[in-house]
Amino acid sequence: MLEGSARGLWWLALGLGCAPAPPASRGNASCAGCHPTQARALASSRHSRATESDLFRALRARASTADRAFCDGCHTVHDVPGEEGAGCVTCHQAGGNRGVSNARLVLDLQGPVRGPFGSATSAHRSAPGDFLRSADLCGTCHEVQGPGAFVETPYSEWSASPAAQSGITCAGCHMARSPGDPEAPRERGPAAVGGPDRALTDHAFVGPEHQRAAELLGRSASLAMHVVPNGATLRVEVTMTNRNTAHALPSGARFARELWLEVRALTDQGTTVLAGAPEDPRRVELGDRVTRNGLPALPTASDPPEVRALPAAGSRTVTLELPASVGGSPVRALTAVLRFRRNDPRLRQALGLPPDPTGPLDLAAVTHAL
């Protein structure tokens, strides 16, 4: 953990009975030697790549100087050459905040390394960290109040949620071995090389942009469908339910997400999308609607967004009138699918970005045979 001559000085000082704080090395690499499992997981996380997103970079480039500094408060909090985003010290040497929002994190780089156990080690001073275990730490960055459409409210949603009432924190789902399942048994192993076996947390922080997003999002929603034939049309009621009891669906950077309901008809001729195609005026969407004076706008210059997300553990029923036949073939079955794309293609196009290579994920589906 300590490098070269610094280690020598540390032991010298220890021998003199006046052990100083170890040098405040802020790089993840300095932690990886003793905590390789956590370092590998963190390297796969969006936390350690918070500036990699081309969407983020394009939006940041359009922001004012003051707003860029605002963005960087969370996206480059690590501030170590060669490493981006949030790193080990961002959480493990956080002392508190000046408000649970807008990157008002207070780092205590001269203080001990906070952990869930605070076990003593020769590598660094240690202390148990209540702040580390709290949702307040996460909320310091995952609660954003503007400018424009940059309104992200996961922490305040969680604060009022059933999950908060039952004591489930952000880490309960996003650091679970099985993302989104706080009840899943945690992996056991040493938290540091040579240490005792413990229940470990997953430092991949799986979220909607992580490579394992499907594991998390697959638990997030359910659909129910009721179909009533009505002459030449079908009256279709689809109920969308957010199974997540901790925050809305979608949450976080909703202005960038595309989450929509698609209804497909199965006929003798094949499968046809009846509702939810990109140009369909009846398209049901759950991502934020970002406009300026009623016209589509970039989030960097928008009015406060229209929130269409499902609240935590909430449901919404939509009714669609759809044709009972397609091209003369009667509809044999209807399938409703809730689909998710991490970047809304319309936003990417407006920013001059190529289409996101990541395809849509199907969060939930239900089929009704006629």
Binding site: G96, G99, G111, D130
Partner: protein
């Protein structure tokens, strides 16, 4: 022992010394009327919208027998939602010595002050926030000679402050964006020496 508890213990100890000083009063009253300058050490307790105890000092100037100007500096400590709060205050008051004897005086007072207030999060390594509060104060007090140039002074004041509220809870310490008014009552005792 926390600093404000130490002050709470020190205050009665200082007051217990006063009777012996009073017995040492000389026939000239020790009040030294006409001496225009005095220095004093003081202890205060304030309570209301928040509570603090403090120690400080003052310089008293008497340009006229009916008027005393007092410039003071006080340091207060206390807790706010388990966080340590310490205030550092400077200000001045005007006393009108409307009732006055050879070795005593009673007076109404009016003053103003400015306070630099700090709050330290209860979390180790947590945030510290500060703000400047401006206040006005009215009250009444009295002073009595203890002899040999020493005098005992006590006064009660109503204080009104304008400043940003501190918000402290669990891991957070911050100042709210909107100004707020605070009301407090303060009891101050002081030991003065006239030159």
């Amino acid at each position: 022992m926390t600093p404000h508890r130490a002050l709470l213990l020190a205050l009665p100890a200082a007051l217990s010394l006063l009777p012996s000083l009073a017995r040492a009063q000389t026939r000239d009253g020790g009040w030294r009327q006409g001496h225009p300058l005095a220095l004093g050490a003081r202890a205060s307790v304030r309570a209301g919208d928040y509570a603090l105890v403090g120690l400080g000092g003052h310089l008293r100037v008497q340009p006229h027998r009916l008027v005393t100007l007092e410039l003071f500096a006080d340091h207060f400590v206390g807790t706010l939602n388990d966080a340590l709060r310490h205030d550092h205050e400077v200000g001045g008051i005007v006393q009108l010595n409307v009732l006055r004897g050879d070795s005593w005086a009673l007076y109404p007072l009016l003053g103003a002050c400015a306070t630099l207030a700090f709050v330290h999060s209860p979390q180790s390594g947590g945030p510290t926030v500060n703000d400047i509060h401006f206040g006005v104060r009215v009250g009444a007090g009295g002073q009595v000679s203890l002899g040999r140039g020493f005098g005992l002074q006590a006064q009660v004041e109503a204080l009104g402050y304008l400043g940003h509220p501190f918000q402290v809870y669990r891991f957070t310490a911050q100042t709210a964006p909107d100004l707020a008014l605070y009301g407090l009552g303060q009891l101050t005792t002081a030991l003065n020496y006239s030159f």
